[in-house]
Symmetry: C2
DNA sequence: TGACAAAGTAAACACTGTTTACATAATGAA
DNA sequence: TTCATTATGTAAACAGTGTTTACTTTGTCA
């Protein structure tokens, strides 16, 4: 337990401080409002110091989201306890939507901004990426439902993408357009429920003859 | 036909020149790539000159979109010739999606960025706003379908919002995430068709007994 | 011709993210 | 203890953004 450990702990503590300050600003005002100078001011360090802990702003915010998106992954995983695959699909949709509605700035960054470059990203880096995990989780459930002969279509990817797009549409529209006065918006929870019910209802196979 | 007219024509011509330069940059590289200096350089004027014709950058780009979105309104209006309201709903969805897929930068600005302030906007300004018109057009068609007893639900706003969200989800996800390598994306046209078919299928009333 | 208004400009302002060059302070070795 | 080294942090600057202030040029009309 020499001073090296202490210094490392201090370094880690400052890194956390930076992340906390950034998280506060980001959750409150969104990506653009998080300026390096504002973060620096909040933690009472010079702007340059941030660059000793993060490569650049994108790196910082991405780290921020990765951390917070653990909750996203956890929410999704909780639905695994639902046995029936069709009901689980519904549960995933609702959990996904709730997270988006409650974390609009995170959601916006992860699913509504231009894609971050995945070019230099090896397959190993996808592991643990909640975006990927959540997609894979939904895809697996859809495959399970297909295997149980519960779905009207057999293309698991197409079904998954349609379900994702539907719920994403409700949330994304809500985030971007909820203040438009020329739409009499129904409550977002109701819109989500309608979307999930209609999509799942339309994708599930009609009961077989003789049942 | 004095020189005043000529000057006004010249002024109008320069305004058009600015818009053309901005349109070129915007369509090619998106909102952030359109810098006032880049526009000025393209038309070989000083940056300040742009401000003699437009209040600020947002004003310019908004004007840009309003102009180009006439095509959007026209696309929507074309579907009016479809007599059957349910079929017309499908046609609107497909037309909407096609426009989004073919004009991703415009689409992103209009439907995926933070809401522009509608606060100071009177009702008269909504008229002619293609966003509003398209929504109203779809809403009207849904109401028509409800009146004809063709829909399973009776809440026209809720149905309209669900349809919009579904197609928006496909397009928005495509624009933001089409390069993600961990999704085996089906062609966007197929995803749109699936979305429209499933949604409409789920929202249309089952045939009455005895028919 | 001369007053006047419009059109256009250079330079600056305030704000970004980021970097260069420098100071400070803590550490391990002589 | 003293010194060199290394990590830590900073002030000032750079290059870019949208936008404005103060000024010059230009064209029009009396």
């Amino acid at each position: 337990m020499g001073p090296i450990n202490r210094r490392e702990r201090e370094k880690e503590a400052l890194r956390t401080q930076i992340l906390d300050a950034a998280r506060y600003l980001f959750a409150r005002d969104g990506y653009d409002a998080v300026t390096m100078r504002a973060i620096a001011e909040r933690i009472e360090y010079s702007p340059r110091t941030i660059y000793l802990h993060f490569q650049d702003k994108e790196d910082l915010v991405r780290e921020l989201c990765r951390h917070d998106f653990q909750a996203f992954g956890a929410d999704m995983a909780k639905t695994a306890k639902v046995k029936d695959p069709v009901e689980r699909i519904k549960a995933i949709g609702l959990a996904y939507a709730r997270f988006g509605a409650e974390n609009p700035n995170h959601y916006r960054l992860m699913f509504m901004s231009g894609a971050p470059d995945y070019e230099g990203m090896g397959e190993e880096e996808w592991k643990g990426n909640p975006e990927v995990d959540a997609y894979a989780f939904l895809l697996g459930t859809v495959q399970e439902a297909i295997a149980a002969d519960r779905m009207a279509l057999k293309d698991a990817e197409l079904i998954t993408q349609t379900l994702w797009a539907g719920v994403h549409g409700v949330i994304a529209l809500d985030i971007a357009k909820c203040n438009d006065p020329w739409v009499k918006w129904r409550p977002v929870s109701k819109r989500v429920k309608t979307m999930v019910d209609v999509l799942v209802g339309g994708l599930v196979a009609p009961p077989r003859k003789g049942r």
